[in-house]
């Protein structure tokens, strides 16, 4: 069972980290920040969840969507490049002025969409690394009954149960 303070800290820090990630993502066009940093920040929030609630719960809730996140992010990023073709050149920025009631005038363009794609890729990749690492460190720790950990599947998580890989892992040991 994780420490009490970690669970308390988690409640405060996770929303803060996610907000900070969104802030960094949006300011990244002209100032330090951007999709990559924001993605790492959001992955840090997920890592906090893994540490405080255990990796099984996190894997159950977001694990199956990580690959789709990578694919979606890559597709968004490359499509923002294709959008530049409307302006003549691949990856040329397209900008629109949006009127938002409270915030006033916002300049939204394809670079923001590209950053969103980068953000999704980085979040998904970093979180699946962190989930994989937590699984390995779990299985490396000695189990009480000496049996191998049932959940040592590959990182390509199409199958959240990891049934197909178990036989292979057992055979190898």
């Amino acid at each position: 069972m994780p420490e009490l303070y970690l669970r308390l800290l988690n409640r405060i820090l996770t929303p803060l980290l996610l907000l900070l990630a969104i802030y960094l993502l949006l300011r990244g066009h002209n100032l330090p920040g951007g999709g990559f940093i924001a993605g790492l920040m959001a992955a840090a929030a997920f890592e906090l969840q893994i540490l405080s609630r255990g990796h099984e719960r996190v894997r159950r809730s977001i694990g199956p969507y990580l690959n789709s996140g990578i694919g979606l992010g890559l597709a968004i990023a490359i499509c923002s490049g294709f959008a530049g073709l409307l302006n003549g050149v691949f990856f040329k920025g397209l900008w629109f002025d949006l009127h938002v009631p409270l915030l006033g005038e916002l300049a939204v363009g394809t670079p923001v969409i590209f950053d969103l794609g980068v953000f999704l890729v980085v979040v998904s990749v970093a979180t699946s690394y962190l989930l994989g690492l937590s699984r390995v460190s779990d299985s490396a720790a000695p189990n009480p009954d000496g049996a191998p950990s049932p959940e040592l599947s590959d990182s390509f998580e199409t199958d959240p149960t990891g049934v197909a890989d178990d036989s292979r892992v057992r055979n190898k040991r």
């Binding site: 694919g71 073709l85 003549g88 920025g93 390509f156």
Partner: protein
Amino acid sequence: MALNANLLAAPVAAPLLTAALILLFARWGGRTLIRHQVALTALALCLNLGIVLTLFYGAAVQGRRFVLQFGNWTAPFGITAYGDGLSATLLLMTAIVALAVYPFAVATIDYHRARMGFHPLYLFLLMGVNGAFLSGDLFNLYVFFEVLLMASFVLLTIGAQPAQTNSGIRYVVLNLLASTVFLVAAGVAYGTLGSLNMAQIAERLPLAAPAVRTVFAGLLMVAFGSKAALFPLFFWLPASYHTPPPAVTALFGGLLTKVGIYTLFRSFTLFFPELLLSWQPALLTIAGATMLVGALGALAQPGIRRVLSFHIISHVGFILMGLAVALSGNSLAIGFGLGAAILYLCHHMIIKTALIMAGGAVELYMGSDRLASIGGLVTRQPLLAFLFFMASISLAGVPPFSGFVSKLSLLQITLDTHHWVVSGVSLFASLLTMINMMRLWRESFWGDYSRPSRVPSRILQSTIRQQLMLIPVGALVLLSLGLGIFGERAFNLTMRVAQHALDRDAYIEAVSPSTLHSSGLRSGAFNVTGPKFPDSSTHLFASLGEPPWPAR
């Protein structure tokens, strides 16, 4: 900006977008999902071939140079993609190899590997290779090297057999070392020349101190030579190519070392053409040693794929020999050597892929590729035996196949420039290739039928799988035959491609005309399309005085 230049983004964007879509929907479905992945990947490969054929027609046949400045940011600030005849030829060969290996891969890759992401990785590898051929920027070249290294590393170890993991570690460590050397070279270029754009490096390098030029050239030679599997740096290749599934070996054998060769071509023709003359003895020695070690090493190997992977090394030596004499020629034109090397490269990519696929088919039928224990397959698989034989004699250089024309043209230029020793070595290596290929064919197809594995082959029970394996081999052998029969036309084309690649001024002007005009710098002395070529650039350095960029 014409739409045509945007075409340069497509060979990278199309595989990437398809792989992204596959990953996006990877969560839903089981075996039907794999079928959809196969369909999408095949579609992307066909699309890639179509795009690349268009590019090839524009760049190699019409002789245009495509330059795409991403987002219209000009050369020193933005990222440049550059496509000329050399890039387009390699892109075309890559597209053909990738499309040809794919049916074989579909027939032979098991469900487990497919579920772990074989098909998107195939596309990522293609994207990395295409990107490296199109990159006009040293750092992006490094990035695409890493993309293809990562994709190939996963393809090599996917399935996690112990032998695969063992070879994968050696492969990745040696390749990462080479990448580090490359990164250091990029750092040297940026620190001393102030740019990573390849056109600007080419423009400024003649003015740099001779020590900088030598260090930069040496580092690039080590990095790219290691990727291309040249003589002292080839150890990653025979250590790793025999362990993954045959389809992966065929793809690697067709594509990976060729990226290293392309970058050697590009850097020697663009950055330091004068070294092609002053380093010529060293280059020829390396080429000869690579040819000999590859061919002799192949003689000692016990398995089909090990023999074939040593032959890849041997043939890289032939290609380097062509590059080394690219700027020499007595009765033959300047650039003849490079044209011959490009033709040899095309021949090598086609026929080596076909041979590895045929050898892989033998291995899958027999359950083993140890030559000592297999034999007599000719009675069961006459078509495979025929195709293997044809591919073998094409590799060895027997007319009317493409091996003959490409070896003949290489030999012509080395004899013309009086490099007797290396010509002799290349002939001897060809003879050894012939001996090796006949050994492979005799041991696996001739004699009494013996199949060491007791487990019945899954491949033998399925006609559609056998067809999927044999049709691409047959198509590639036919392509090699066509390249041999229309050899003169093909050689004229590669000759033109080589002369375009040797024209540095046109490259620099195509990428960054503004900097050229503003600095008033025209490296006319390096225009090597004419017969005269200065062997030293010191007078250039003296006449121009201070370099036009701020000192660091």
